[in-house]
Symmetry: C2
């Protein structure tokens, strides 16, 4: 819409969507490492759905905020991720990204556990030109250790 | 491209992409329930990546075929799914879908186990107009039972 209404000035030429999403995603992971719930939540769209392993879907920003705040309050919890690949639709309104993540947590015996994961996100470009994450899902790279 | 080259005949007016993907996805799950590996594999693009829980990514059709054949050979294994929501890019070349799935397996004690899951797929429309799945990821709705 900016292009149609605004001619060919800089505002009508958004940066490469792939680079934009990679930049946003890097900032987003940094916000998560800093445990900054407000900033973390800002990268999701209002109608986003998060699909955490071992939990029902978390739908909408209010529920997602609650999920994030609770996670950050969990002793030993930490998360970071790295998106490696982004593909954008021809119309530049939809994209998906894949990458890896790492979750840390406290084991019952007090030691720190780490789960290596793989992640898929879907991104939508809003009318304001801003990319937001609308779908967020991940799972573990390794099976759980055998029961003793 | 069909539209550009072929004028406004029926071939230039592809069916509603959302309905197309829902139909394909239903057929795909039926093929999986029938344990028909060739048909199941045909719904993925050649460069698709599958992200099964507890496993590294499975990238490309040859690896995916091997993964599917092995799964179908596992005694007690079964899978079915139901896609409930599809969103398509304005350009009609990219879409994502969300839904639920159910995996059955044999427990070590011989009883049948069932895992309820949630799934996200990304679909790409090829130059031939056919939609193929390019990304396929899922995880469990419930956490694993506590260790005894």
């Amino acid at each position: 819409m900016v292009g149609v209404l605004g001619g060919c000035g800089p505002a009508s030429t958004p940066a490469d969507p792939r680079a934009q999403i990679l930049r946003l995603d890097g900032e987003w992971s940094q916000a998560a490492e800093a445990r900054d719930a407000d900033r973390v939540v800002s990268y999701w769209a209002d109608d986003a759905v998060v699909y955490p392993p071992g939990s029902p879907p978390v739908a909408g920003k209010a529920a997602i905020r609650e999920y994030v705040v609770k996670s950050f309050q969990t002793p030993g919890f930490g998360i970071s991720w790295k998106t490696t690949d982004v593909k954008v639709s021809e119309s530049g309104d939809l994209a998906y990204a894949t990458g890896t993540n790492r979750v840390t947590f406290n084991n019952p015996d007090g030691t720190q556990g780490t789960l290596e994961g793989k992640a898929v996100t879907v991104w939508r470009r809003g009318r304001d030109g801003a990319w937001k994450c609308v779908v967020d899902i991940w799972n573990d790279v390794s099976p759980p250790p055998p029961r003793s």
